[in-house]
Amino acid sequence: MLGLWRRIRRLGRIAEPAPEPPSTDRPDAAEQLGGSVQIRHVDAGSCNGCEIEIGAAFGPVHDGERYGARLVASPRHADALIVTGAVTRNMTEPLRRTYEAVPRPRMVVAVGDCARNCGVFAGAYGVTGPVSAVVPVDLEVPGCPPRPEAIVAALRTLTGR
């Protein structure tokens, strides 16, 4: 306990100083949210590379929460879905239902190249298509996997902070 306390004192703040807010235009649904976006993450068939980066984006270093974004446990609590990976056949219907479960106004962020255009899995037999083929996508984050900075920038575009 004391050891932990000492470490807390020694480390102090780990989070890096906030970079410039992104200049990309916000989806109009985001305007209605007023600086608070709760996010449900859906893995539609990802290789978990993007998951690791999302985890990093909410870790102490990048601290996505400081911009008013928060991961939640149920799509009912969410304003935005973060979808990763090319949508596989088995995840097509669940993804659609998850989208239906989110109360309006709602947004979808496609994170990673697979989510945008199926990446290397394009045309694979188990793949339905990119996320945009199943649910309307408001924002895309390129990269395989995208850097946490990019994900944080996308989150800031939603929260506007």
Binding site: G34, G35, E65, R66, A73, R76, P103
Partner: protein, 318 residues
């Protein structure tokens, strides 16, 4: 209209407003403290208010197969907490409704709020809802003895279970606060509060894993304004519990006579006390891990022991 009635009415209204407005800030403060101790920056203490504003504007959703119980539960829970916030001595020692400001009534009312949410959780008919309800009510049942025996310990000294009377007696003899009885009772009540407000180590309010949830599991189906009410309600519960703890043991600063200055001092003192308690709780949580559900009874048995010791201590150690 006597002086104390006016004080009660004005103060009751005032403290209800203060709690409704301040409870989300308390949650924000606790999150902020945790964030800072974890080396993060944190979203700022006004973030919960932003969340609430947004959720109130969002679209309400009625899951198919749920009944009026599901829709009424959040209102009932917030209403109950609001009543407690208005009648218990937070800003003023006098109460607008002396016939309700009884420690048993307050504890039982807060339990009723929990029951409303538990019924809603069952009403959804999902496995998680039932699981959360089952766990929440189990903890509620095991907490009850501790709470009431601790109340016993407090009220023996005051000769009454009326909250105002207890506060007045503490104000009358400040030395009693340092007596072992009071300290043990305080320790027991802290454990009660941790269990009732679903904080670590009993429940992890920030968990995403349904199987480890207690309170969260019951509200997975709520969206939009209903969810906002639920979150506001649980924030108010924390504020009310912490406020009770603060004013039962350290009532100084509470307004005892009507007057703008007195009320102002009362508000400031209340806010400071609750803020300090909340920050301390959040800081302690950084060092704690959630205990297994079936280790919780040990914790509560321990707190019950403390409460019982508090009662006997007030006789053993005159």
């Amino acid at each position: 209209m006597t002086d104390s009635t006016t004080l009660g009415l004005v103060g009751g209204l005032l403290q209800a407003v203060v709690i409704v407005a301040g409870a989300p800030l308390l949650v924000g403060l606790m999150r902020q403290v945790r964030a800072r101790m974890e080396g993060r920056v944190g979203a700022g203490i006004t973030q919960p208010w932003r969340d609430l504003r947004k959720q109130f504007r969002k679209e309400p959703i009625t899951p198919r197969g749920t009944s009026e119980v599901f829709r009424a539960a959040p209102v009932a829970m917030v209403a109950i907490t609001l009543v407690v916030a208005a009648i218990a001595p937070f800003v003023t020692a006098a109460s607008p409704l002396p016939g309700v400001a009884d420690l048993f009534v307050v504890v039982a009312l807060l339990a009723t709020g929990t029951v409303a949410i538990a019924l809603a959780g069952i009403d959804t008919g999902t496995a998680f809802g039932g699981m959360g309800a089952s766990r929440e009510t189990t903890i509620l049942a095991l907490v009850e003895p501790t709470a009431l025996v601790a109340i016993f310990a407090l009220s023996v000294r005051a000769g009454s279970t009326n909250l105002s009377a207890i506060v007045d007696s503490t104000l009358a003899e400040p030395s009693a606060v340092l007596s072992p009885a009071a300290l043990l009772a305080a320790a027991a009540l802290v454990l009660v509060i941790v269990a009732e407000t679903g904080r670590l180590p009993v429940d992890n309010p920030a968990t995403h894993l349904e199987l480890t949830m207690v309170h969260e599991a019951m509200v997975l189906e709520y969206a939009g304004p209903d969810l906002a009410l639920i979150e506001l309600g649980s924030a108010m519960r924390s504020a009310v519990y912490l406020g009770l703890l603060a004013n039962l043991f350290v009532p100084w600063g509470i307004a005892t006579e009507a007057g703008v200055l007195a009320l102002l001092v009362g508000v400031v003192a209340f806010v400071v006390k609750v803020g300090v308690l909340g920050a301390a709780l959040a800081a302690a949580e950084v060092f704690l891990a959630k205990v297994r559900l079936f280790r919780v009874p040990e914790l509560l048995a321990g707190s019950f022991l403390l409460a019982l010791l508090a009662v006997t201590a007030s006789y053993v150690l005159a």
